[in-house]
Symmetry: C2
Subunit: 347 residues, 2 copies
């Protein structure tokens, strides 16, 4: 086994680190020539279902970029299949659900997730990876709100009108749906950690479309349970969404050892809002990877400088790596974070 | 001339009002059967180019909903045509620009706007409207950032990668482009006010995709000039964008007598951030129009109660009316705001 780099886990726990750890959301994906070549032969879901292949895809950015954590290659829709949801991942569109959820009968048809029985290929991938990875492995699940939005809309949406109409108009159906998705999330995360995942991230990517009042009424109780029922796992849990500045105090109340934020907020200001007892992850705009080298380097430095001296910063983008991104640029960012992150902490 | 209702203008100036004024962004549009019928015979731009028709479309929501202000029916792309931009408004997609701006030569080809010569149909519409409207007329312009994003991307975008790549990589081209768009905005707003508009709104709708650092470097100077060079007009200027919580202090510094915010923030919290010397506009989630009556009514009341006793609240949605919205629901909201807004101010 290669030497173990635990910088990421130490930062999640706000322990001293030699330098700032860094990884990238969607660090395995279309920006990589190797991934694009594989995708000519396999669909995304086919890759997920082949543990050796999936482990290889998960490992590639660790080897190529030198990031401090791997994240399981998968999709937030994966656990919905065994629950009885028929869907496809449509290229450059997103998840399309065959029969969107419209009422209580649809919710009642969702089966409880039995990860060991129906998602063993995911768990086997995790088991393979943790044997050989030189860095921690992050498992993940979609947040109940974000998954519910796909299930109700049937496709990606900009307005979330059907989702919100159900929240407001059929609150019993809404809460029953979120309850099932929360049950799923708890079981799935527990199984991932049992299989060896060292940390987990809850991708509640689209929850930032809600007002604070709606988050409090329709999402917070479920997220609190999700975090309460995974607390005993003892692994860091990263709680992430985009456009969440107005929700940060509520997301903090929901739970997570690490809160992930996007670039729409100054990282230090977000951290002040969250309080010192939590780690933060972020928050470079993925579009900055298309900037000239000196501009990019300055922004990486600005982010590091803005939170220098505080324990618990994990460097990341504010959202996933964009498909046109240059792998070289990402590698540069990793190097800069490692060299300048160290510098920052010495002052 | 019908009795003049100046509640909206008084609230913009933070003067005492009998009750909270209300209007809706995109209050003339696809949710109206009358509008849909007209659109079977005319394109959006054809309506804009016929003053009588355009005035009729602008007036309709005032008559049907009882709102306290009219907003000129138009599109933020309209002034770009006379500047030499070839574009179409593609149904349910948005503006498509034939030759996106990629470099300094493209910027240099943009002609200065001469509103009186090339957009007289807009000014004539305004002149017609102010003669007969019982409420103030709001003129508008797109924010330089938002217009630049359409000109550079060539189409609506979720990631703004090309826009940001130009900002970072060709800052001279970027600033030259924003300078020309700011010149246009100043001339266009001045002409609209000369023609009779009682207030104006700057729709910098997509500026919330920027980090505070990017807004400060690439947008703020232009917005400051836009507001400085329209200050002598003496009409209230509403400064609006979505997803702007992290930018609010900078938008406030840019200018505007009224700052418009979306539903992702508590209105009172946003106002606290902006300070008491400015009016605010907002901020009901347009999706709440799809909620049951009691839920909607409660949220309207919550918003009014949260800022009760403060001078300078204009009730609005946090973004435009959605096409599937019921006109009856909008009328109810107007009635509730008028009745409960008054109630709030008596306590």
């Amino acid at each position: 086994m290669p030497p173990w780099n635990d910088r990421f886990l130490r930062a999640c726990r706000r322990e001293p680190v030699d330098t700032t750890p860094v990884w990238f959301m969607r660090q395995a994906g279309r920006y990589q020539a190797e991934y694009r070549a594989l995708r000519e032969r396999y669909t995304l879901l086919e890759i997920c279902r082949r543990p050796e292949l999936c482990a290889q895809v998960t490992r590639l950015p660790v080897e190529q970029l030198g990031v401090d954590a791997a994240i399981l290659f998968s999709d937030i829709m994966v656990p919905l299949g065994p629950m009885g949801v028929e869907y496809e991942l449509k290229e450059s569109v997103g998840p399309i659900v065959a029969r969107p959820i419209a009422g209580m009968a649809d919710v009642a048809r969702l089966r409880p997730l039995e990860p060991e029985e129906t998602l063993d290929y995911v768990l086997e991938t995790i088991r393979l990876l943790v044997r050989e990875l030189p860095v921690p492995l992050i498992g993940f699940v979609g947040g109940p709100f974000t998954l519910a939005s796909y299930l109700i809309e049937g496709q990606p949406t900009r307005t979330f009108v059907k989702t919100k109409a159900m929240m407001y108009g059929q609150p019993a159906v809404w809460h029953a749906l979120l309850e099932r998705l929360t049950d799923m999330a708890v079981r799935y995360l527990r199984a991932q950690v049992r299989a060896g995942a060292h940390a987990v991230q809850v991708f509640d990517s689209w929850v930032g479309c809600l007002s604070p009042a709606d988050y409090r009424a329709f999402v917070l109780p479920h997220m609190q349970r999700l975090f309460a029922e995974t607390a005993d796992l003892g692994v860091p849990r990263i709680h992430f969404g985009v456009n969440t500045l107005g929700l940060l105090p509520l997301m903090r109340a929901a739970g997570g050892e690490v809160i992930g934020v996007d670039w729409r907020v100054d990282l230090a200001a977000a951290w002040d809002l969250l309080g010192p007892d939590v780690a933060v992850q972020g928050n470079l705009d993925p579009a900055l990877l298309f900037a000239p080298e000196d501009v990019l380097r300055q922004r990486v430095q600005d982010i590091l400088a803005s939170v220098a001296g505080r324990a618990g910063h994990i460097f990341n983008l504010g959202h996933g790596v964009l498909p046109q991104t240059s792998p070289d640029r990402l590698r540069q960012v990793v190097d800069w974070v490692h060299s300048m992150g160290g510098d920052q902490r010495e002052h």
